[in-house]
Amino acid sequence: MKKEHFEAFLSKNENRILRYLIGLCGNEQDALDVLQSVFIAVYKNLDRIEDATALSYTYKIAHNKCITFLKAKSRYVAVDPVYFNSIPDSSGGVAEADYKELHLAIASVPPKLAAVIQLQYYENLSYKDISAQLGISVKAVESLLVRAKRILRKKMMQGNNKK
């Protein structure tokens, strides 16, 4: 990727990556800290990054940086559903609890699956647009989504059964 394109790339993708990181880190403040290190790492590797797969690559970096961050803080909130369930719900609503469950489920799948889920559901992109964003084929998008949804539904059901 060319250096001149970095800021446009940042503007286009920072919200996506932040959403992903909030799920992984468990809170927005940590996510914002990690977000900075993610995009700086992207910048340092610009000459090795292809435009077509830059977003996929950024999701991967985000995943790795967050794992490192959580290790440093020596707490694995993202992969410990008990942590979230033990937080008293401000609204007391079932919907919010379910939403947390979902957040956790997304955080626990590989970055590639999380990426397709985000682009499909939060941004309502078509399979074709997702394939262009991530530099993969439409068929690959379809099968990744099938896999991702199967995992999410399973996790959501497990979560609901625990309550």
Binding site: E7, L10, E14, L32, Q36, Y127
Partner: protein
């Protein structure tokens, strides 16, 4: 249609990716199959929950801070390509100057063989002049582009 096919098509339907012909075929199956119909409303829950997630935006100051840090990286060390270009220019100049100097020394040496012996000392000094200018070019080449 088999139920496994119908379940796959339900995913496509929920994602807005189902073609018109497949849509008709799926509806026909759903009319006859209560299990798949139940699955449709179950599967739709995930879509509804996911699309109901709140908006998330990176604060402008965080964006600015990233750009700021990135620019600082840039001034801290010149990029590989810039250094490479600089090195190429310097090397080309150096080769050119040493060729000139070499030719000059050659001419002087040739002259010294045909002319009086003490003029050869001139060729030595010209050779050292060549070296000095080489250093100068290297230095100015180094500072000029910075």
């Amino acid at each position: 249609m088999r139920c496994s096919k119908a379940i796959h098509l339900i995913d496509l339907k929920l994602d807005g990716e189902l073609s018109a012909s497949n849509s008709r075929a799926l509806n026909q199956h759903l009319d006859k199959c209560p299990a798949c119909k139940a699955w449709l409303s179950e599967a739709a829950k995930l879509n509804i929950m996911l699309s109901a997630s709140p908006d998330i935006a990176v604060p402008a100051w965080v964006h600015a801070q990233i750009m700021d840090k990135v620019k600082k990286l840039e001034t801290a060390k010149p990029s590989f390509s810039r250094r490479f270009k600089l090195a190429t220019v310097t090397a080309t100049l150096a080769v050119f100057v040493s060729l000139l100097a070499g030719a000059h020394v050659g001419v002087q040496t040739f002259k010294s063989e045909t002319e009086a012996y003490d003029t050869s000392s001139y060729s030595v000094s010209s050779a050292s002049f060549g070296e000095t200018s080489l250093m100068e070019v290297y230095e100015t080449g180094g500072t000029y582009d910075e």
